[in-house]
C-alpha cells in the first residue's frame, strides 16, 4: 500500500517539477514568493508598501551590479572586480564634480566612461591573454581598489558637495502614499532593457552562444572576442550605473564601500538560476535573486533575528535555492 501512495506522491511531485520547469525563472520566483509569505506571517510590518519599497531600495545597488554580473556569467565568466569598479567610478564622478565644479551631466558621463574602460580592461585581458576571468578579475580587483584609495585619498565626498544630478537616484517620488526612489526604478528599467536585449537582439543570442560553447560559436561565425569585449565593457557601464545608485543611496561617495559586493552580486545571480558554466540563465532571475536575499535580510531583521543568524541564513539560502533550482531543471523538456 505504501508504495502505491509513494508512487502517487512522486508523480504529483514530478508534475509540479514539470510545471516549474516550463519557465526558467519560476524556480527563484517560487522561492521569493514563499519567503515573502513566511515573513509576512512572522511580522505584520513586513508586507507594508513602505517596507516593500525599502527592500527595493536596499537591493538596488547589488541588484544593479548583478545585472552586469549576469551577462558576464552568461559568457561563462565571473567578475570579482565589480564592486571595485563601482566604487572607483563613484569616487571619480563625485570627486571630479566636487573639486572642479564640473556639472552633473558631464561628471556622470565621465563616470560611465571610467566604468566602461575598467570593464574593457577586464575584457581585453580575458580575450587577448586568454586568461580565465576569475584570475583576471581577481587581479584587477586589487588594481581598481588601489586606484580608488589613491585617487580618493581615502576621503569620503559628501553629497552636499556634488551636483544634484549625481544624487538623483536617491530622490523619491510618491505613488499611493509610498515613496519610491528613482534608483529602484532605474534598476527595474535596466533589468527590463537588458532582458529585452538578451532575448531579442543578435547580440543577446551571441552572448548566450559564446557562453555555451566558445569554439563552436567562433566556428559558426560569431566574433567571440568582440562579444566578450562588449560584454565586459557593458558590465563596466552597468557597474557605473550601480555607482550612481550607490551615490544616491548613501548621499555621498565613500571609498570604503562595495568591498563585499562582488560575492553578493554573484550570490544574487546564482540564486536567480543562472548557471556558472555559462549559456543558461536570465537577468530577471538575478533581480529576483537579489530580492530574495534582500527579503531574507529585511524579514529576519524585522523578526528580530540577530545578524549572526542572518549570515547563517543567507548561507543556507544559497544552497537551498540553488538545489531547488537544480532539481527543477533536472526534468528534460
Amino acid at each position: 500500500m505504501t508504495t502505491v501512495v509513494e508512487e502517487r506522491d512522486r508523480s504529483l511531485l514530478t508534475r509540479v517539477q514539470h510545471l516549474l520547469h516550463a519557465q526558467a525563472t519560476i524556480g527563484p520566483a517560487v522561492v521569493l514568493l514563499v519567503s515573502v509569505v513566511v515573513f509576512a506571517l512572522l511580522s505584520e510590518r513586513f508586507l507594508t508598501p513602505g517596507n516593500i519599497s525599502l527592500i527595493l531600495q536596499q537591493v538596488a545597488v547589488v541588484g544593479t551590479l548583478a545585472v552586469g554580473q549576469t551577462i558576464v556569467i552568461l559568457t561563462a565568466g565571473i567578475d570579482l572586480s565589480c564592486g571595485a569598479i563601482m566604487v572607483l567610478t563613484s569616487i571619480v564622478m563625485a570627486k571630479v564634480a566636487a573639486e572642479t565644479g564640473l556639472p552633473g551631466f558631464p561628471a556622470l558621463l565621465l563616470g560611465f566612461l571610467v566604468g566602461t574602460v575598467c570593464g574593457l580592461l577586464n575584457g581585453m585581458l580575458v580575450t587577448r591573454l586568454k586568461l580565465p576571468p576569475f584570475i583576471v578579475t581577481l587581479g584587477t580587483l586589487n588594481v581598481f581598489f588601489a586606484l580608488n584609495l589613491w585617487y580618493s585619498g581615502s576621503a569620503t565626498i559628501r553629497g552636499t558637495d556634488m551636483p544634484s544630478l549625481l544624487l538623483w537616484t536617491g530622490q523619491t517620488f510618491t505613488v499611493g502614499g509610498t515613496r519610491i526612489t528613482y534608483g529602484s526604478i532605474m534598476l527595474v528599467v535596466l533589468v527590463a532593457a537588458m532582458a529585452f536585449v538578451l532575448k531579442n537582439t543578435a547580440w543577446g543570442r551571441h552572448v548566450y552562444s559564446t557562453g555555451d560553447d566558445l569554439e563552436a560559436s567562433r566556428l559558426s561565425g560569431i566574433r567571440t572576442a568582440r562579444v566578450l569585449l562588449s560584454v565586459y565593457a557593458t558590465a563596466g557601464l552597468v557597474y557605473a550605473l550601480a555607482a550612481w545608485t550607490l551615490i544616491g543611496r548613501i548621499a555621498s561617495a565613500s571609498p570604503q564601500a562595495g568591498q563585499t559586493d562582488n560575492l553578493d552580486s554573484i550570490t544574487a545571480v546564482v540564486i536567480g538560476g543562472t548557471s556558472l558554466f555559462g549559456g543558461r540563465g536570465a537577468v530577471v532571475g538575478s533581480l529576483i535573486g537579489a530580492l530574495i536575499v534582500g527579503v531574507f535580510r529585511n524579514g529576519l531583521a524585522l523578526a528580530g533575528v540577530d545578524v549572526l543568524w542572518q549570515t547563517m541564513a543567507v548561507g543556507v539560502l544559497i544552497i537551498v535555492a540553488v538545489s531547488l533550482d537544480q532539481w527543477i531543471r533536472k526534468v528534460k523538456a
Binding site: F196, N200, T201, A202, W203, R205, H206, Y208, S209, D212, D213, E215, A216, S217, R218, L219, S220, G221, I222, R223, G279, R280, K332, A333
Partner: protein
C-alpha cells in the same frame, strides 16, 4: 582549363612541434564533389579549417575563383560564400534550431523595431528554418523552436548540415558529416550532398567511409602526412588502390 572555385597552394600549419600541414595543395572545380580521404592525423581537418578561416595557415596561399584571399576568421570565409560543417559540429546546444541555423547572420525585424531596437525577426527566422529543413527534406524535425541540446546526435548533425547547405553560395565543406550517423541518417546526408551539387554548388567531403566516398565523389583527393599525395578518379581507381595510396602502401599512378 576551368578556374578552380577554391584553390590552396603550399599550405603549412604547425602546432608546436607537430606539423599538421606540410605544404598541402587543393583544387575544387566548379560543380564537383571532391572527396578528401586520409589516415587519422593526415591533416584533413587542418586543411579544411584553413579553407574555412577557422585557423590561419603559417604559410601558403588560398584562391577563390582564381583571386588570392586571406581568411583571418570564419566570417571572412563565410562572406566569400564558403560554408563548413566542422567535425566538432559547431552548434550551440542551449539555442534552438532556428537560432542555430541563423547564428551569426540573424535577421532583424522590418521597420524601427529592427533598425532602432535591433529586434530579431524570430517568427520570420523560424518560418525560414522550417522551409529550409523541409526543402532539404532530410528529416522530420517537428519544431524549429526546439533547443539543440534535446536532439539526438544524428539530428544535431542534420542541423549543422542543413545550415551549410542552406547558406553556402559558393562552396560547401563537410568534415566527416556521417561519422556518428546511422545507416538511414547517413543515406540522407549523402543524398543531401548530391542535391547540393545538383544545385550547382561544389562540395568538399571528408570521410573515412570508402563506399560513401566512391559513391558520391567526382574526384578524390588523397591526403597523406600533411600533403596532397594524389588526386584520383573514382571511376578509374579501385577502392583498395585508393586505400593503398592513402596508407603509403602504393605510389599513386602517373
Amino acid at each position: 582549363m576551368t578556374t578552380p572555385v577554391l584553390q590552396a597552394r603550399g599550405l603549412v600549419k604547425r602546432y608546436g612541434k607537430v606539423t599538421a600541414l606540410a605544404g598541402s595543395d587543393l583544387e575544387l572545380l566548379p560543380g564537383e564533389i571532391l572527396a578528401v580521404i586520409g589516415d587519422n592525423g593526415a591533416g584533413k581537418s587542418s586543411l579544411i579549417k584553413a579553407l574555412a578561416g577557422a585557423v590561419v595557415p603559417d604559410e601558403g596561399e588560398i584562391f577563390v575563383d582564381g583571386s588570392p584571399v586571406s581568411f583571418s576568421t570564419p566570417i571572412d570565409a563565410r562572406r566569400a560564400g564558403i560554408e563548413t560543417v566542422h567535425q566538432s559540429l559547431a552548434v550551440s546546444p542551449s539555442l534552438d534550431i532556428a537560432a542555430n541555423l541563423f547564428l551569426g547572420r540573424e535577421r532583424r525585424r522590418k521597420g524601427v523595431l529592427g533598425s532602432v531596437f535591433r529586434m530579431l525577426d524570430r517568427q520570420g527566422m523560424r518560418e525560414e528554418a522550417r522551409r529550409q529543413l523541409d526543402a532539404l527534406g532530410i528529416m522530420t524535425i517537428q519544431n524549429p523552436g526546439q533547443a539543440v541540446e534535446t536532439l539526438s546526435g544524428g539530428q544535431r548533425q542534420a542541423v549543422a548540415v542543413a545550415r551549410a547547405a542552406a547558406f553556402g553560395s559558393r562552396v560547401v565543406i563537410m568534415d566527416e558529416p556521417t561519422a556518428a550517423l546511422g545507416v538511414r541518417e547517413s543515406r540522407a546526408v549523402l543524398d543531401l550532398i548530391l542535391q547540393v551539387r545538383d544545385r550547382g554548388l561544389p562540395v568538399i567531403l571528408i570521410s573515412h567511409n570508402m563506399p560513401h566516398v566512391f559513391e558520391v565523389a567526382d574526384r578524390i583527393h588523397i591526403q597523406r602526412l600533411g600533403r596532397r599525395k594524389a588526386v584520383v578518379d573514382p571511376k578509374s581507381v579501385s577502392m583498395s588502390d585508393a586505400v593503398a595510396i592513402m596508407t603509403g602502401a602504393m605510389e599513386p599512378p602517373g
